[in-house]
Subunit: 137 residues, 2 copies
């Protein structure tokens, strides 16, 4: 939360109820949430925030580096708090959609290799697995 205040101030932005509430929802979640998910949880908590504001806030929090955008082949984005969490990846069940964290990232060496081969500068990568969770097998 202190990161939020500092980050916002540094850009001349304001600390508002929706911003606090949305970051809070993401910090409490054990898996990444879509904008619609966030909106639904806010409603459940009696916090009246428009879905448009959720989208705009997610963009702000992402720019501040407080949340990460995750894509799991669903045709939509998900977001998760980065607070106190290492860079990591996910696995998603093809049956029930369950998402689990993978606390690993073996790609440091590979990134260097890619940069040498392609002459691109690598800024980010995404590594996701898809399969069947124990219940759905």
């Amino acid at each position: 939360m202190t990161n939020l205040i500092a980050g916002l101030r540094a850009e001349g932005r304001r600390l508002t109820r929706p911003r606090k509430a949305i970051l809070d929802v993401l910090e409490k979640s054990k898996y990444p949430l879509s904008a619609a998910d966030v909106h639904a949880r806010l409603k459940r908590e009696q916090v009246a925030v428009d879905l448009v504001t959720v989208y705009r806030t997610l963009a702000v929090l992402k720019k501040l580096g407080l949340i990460a955008q995750v894509e799991l082949g669903e045709g939509q984005f998900r977001y998760e708090s980065r607070h106190g969490r290492e860079h990591h990846h996910h696995i998603r069940c093809r049956g029930c959609g369950r998402i689990a964290d993978l606390m690993l990232c073996p790609l440091k060496k590979l990134t260097a290799l890619v940069e040498r081969e392609t002459r691109f500068t690598v800024e980010e990568h995404s590594l996701e697995f898809f399969g069947w969770c124990p219940k759905c097998q």
Copy 2:
């Protein structure tokens, strides 16, 4: 093309002009194309096919395993032919959108590790890099 005929027949489906043309467009492309890209190229080649048919055909070709669906953080799907190409991944430039193939996949061992840790059965994975191409750096 012989794969297409065999695959379609095996499911009681038919070989049609749109299906041939769409697979052909994908086989000629050096990078993965969106449905709209495919549609535009068909038009350029005087092949009149509705965009809806492109979407439906991409779904069929994907189910037959002839093409792969690729996601590069754009909010849309791309598709590429699998004919004669190894399983591989991509790098996409944040500046101009240029996409290059990465002919590597160092994830066999990792997959086994993930399966052991999570108890999921891994069926597929996605590994993509994002950065800046030589022209955009």
